[in-house]
Symmetry: C2
Subunit: 221 residues, 2 copies
Amino acid sequence: MSQRKFKDEIYPHFARVAQALASDKRLELLDILTQGPRHVDALAQETGMSVANSSQHLQTLRAARLVETARKGNMIIYRVADPSVMNLWVALRGVAESRLAEVKQLAEEFHSARSNGDVVTRDQAEVLAHQNAVLLDVRPVAEFESGHLCGAINIPLDDLPDRLEELPSERRIIAYCRGLYCLLADEAAALLLANGFDVVRLEGGWPEWQSEGRPVIGGVT
Amino acid sequence: MSQRKFKDEIYPHFARVAQALASDKRLELLDILTQGPRHVDALAQETGMSVANSSQHLQTLRAARLVETARKGNMIIYRVADPSVMNLWVALRGVAESRLAEVKQLAEEFHSARSNGDVVTRDQAEVLAHQNAVLLDVRPVAEFESGHLCGAINIPLDDLPDRLEELPSERRIIAYCRGLYCLLADEAAALLLANGFDVVRLEGGWPEWQSEGRPVIGGVT
DNA sequence: CAAGTACTCAAGTGAGTAGTTGACAAGCCC
DNA sequence: GGGCTTGTCAACTACTCACTTGAGTACTTG
């Protein structure tokens, strides 16, 4: 097979995958799915789209084999198909963050008001976790159960005020949530700092952690 | 800033990057550029497109800030803008390879006829390189000079038959080229095997190596 | 400066894509 | 089965994109 013919056959497949990502709505759906499986109605609500429109975007993602479906009763559950998809989404966001000034600025504005406690890198966090630090997942229970950092405990932000006594006050706490554009860990850190805990926030969140192949429980296989 | 408003503002930027990748022609241009800077005419020739069309695709890539330009005489040189872009391209290809059966099959057909010498992973290659193995880059001189594996020597495939005596016959040789869909290293391995050398091929090539942050000389900064 | 090279731009056509609406299918519960 | 929920499909309009053609710009060389 000639080089030219091979390229003409294989590149359209690569483009098909990129094409599926080339819509803000689909990227938002994909991002939500990196946090755990969802049914169509929930996705439509979270994104503010009509069910029909969500359904069509989800089918585009499925046609590119980025997500998979399973029927459960009369609901259809969508989930991310493969860790490599998570990795691709993180890589895409990474390029936008490092190359597009607008993205950098928007992210800063978003976080400017609130930044409680120091931030640790994922490398540092792995070391600290071996040195008696507590990994605290403040996402909702369902998301924790669909996958979380190895060794983490789960106290959703909403429950945190009532469950402070579950946290050891003498150990350092590393709080994390859905990722760069999620404020759960930030709010948790504020609450914990106000109550005298030694708390830091993890840089990024669950998708970044998993896409780098760090130790996890559950998650996409 | 509300979560909804933030998402409505930031996701279109992510989509813009994906949009730029959503064309087989642009991906091919990008892939060529991962091997080193090129001027428009060279890119048009390599892809078989008209100059005007190549130019327009290149401008799309530039608008998404995936590539950068520099004028040199009356030529305009395009190059990949950032290592994260290389990483994104490798991630995209990775998803297509692991998720799309057609891609897997095409790649196998392409390589089926020829597979000379064993393949070593990039991890293994790094270890072997510290154990007296020779890293051999068989790409053209210009590509070697624009960036290569740390410690590699360059003998382009075309020159290899005349320059065999430059290679130590008692050391293991690790041959590499442009990547998964390039046959240079394969042909080099065939030639070296026929001449009694102990040769293996590197899995992937230059872009994969650089995007993983392994030691390099030159390359995109 | 004139001629030539390398690239970009503008306009036009045909193809493809997004979101809406209303009809339809598949499974649940009484 | 009848009525409900959940999701998909088909058809339509408005919009966007790809490639070509021909003109235009930027720089170099004689």
